[in-house]
Amino acid sequence: MTDLLFLAFAAVTIGAAILAIEARDLVYGAAALGIAFLGVAGLFFLLDAAYVGWFQIAVYIGAVVVLILFTVMLVGPKKGETPLELKRVSLLAAMLVSLLLGMTGALANATAFPGPDACGSGCDLALFSTSLLKNYGVPLEFMSLVMAAAVIGALALSKTDRGQ
């Protein structure tokens, strides 16, 4: 059951990621990116990280993909097209990717990292949230400060001077 789910999520993630990079239309690319994020969230669920999976769905699909779609609409679909690609860089990238895939083949040896046993009470959400608030409370507050700074910076960057 888990194997089938894993295969489905992995296939959806990788296929949608390739589509996000290679789709001709940027709007389709953004939609495919959202599906890839959904697949990664599914993999998080399989790894017993349910809270992180829901966070991924809320932040990536709820915020980032919507933001990207708005930007594509604002910039305009015409400007999004760049038909010319660099040949030599493309070759280099293909070599790099094949190197990485070769590393994967070497690493995908099931005896190196066997699947852990199913965890019962260890994967409890209460444990996670207690640790999050008890040990990482101050970093969490700093995170919200950085988030506020980023939002103000983004607003200041894209502000238009209507007076001129």
């Binding site: 990116l33 991924q56 980032v64 640790s131």
Partner: protein, 102 residues
């Protein structure tokens, strides 16, 4: 349960797709897609390694929580820069942006 190596394999493939997009594409939004894919590959890797122990290591999951929030902020700032560039220039081809070159 599926062996953890398969999750690492998915992570490496996502990283490869991200690097491929980063090197071959010149559209700023497409490059942002690639960066987000690389972020996701890193997050998946961290979560898989945190699951190596039983029960899972909570620190890894908290780290991924912070990474996701930081990636969202990075996307917000990057997209506002892209909007600014598209307002100043005709298109958002990154190889044509040489205004800051000395």
């Amino acid at each position: 349960m599926e062996p953890l190596s398969s999750f690492f394999a998915v992570s490496v493939i996502l990283l490869g797709i991200g690097i491929y997009g980063l090197t071959t594409k010149r559209n700023a939004i497409r490059i942002l897609f690639s960066v987000e894919l690389i972020y996701n590959a890193a997050n998946l890797n961290i979560i898989a390694f945190a699951r190596l122990r039983n029960p899972p290591i909570v620190t890894g999951q908290v780290l991924v929580l912070f990474t996701i929030a930081l990636a969202a902020m990075e996307a917000a700032v990057g997209l506002s820069i892209i909007i600014l560039v598209s307002r100043l220039n005709a298109d958002i081809d990154l190889s044509k942006l040489s205004k800051l070159k000395g």
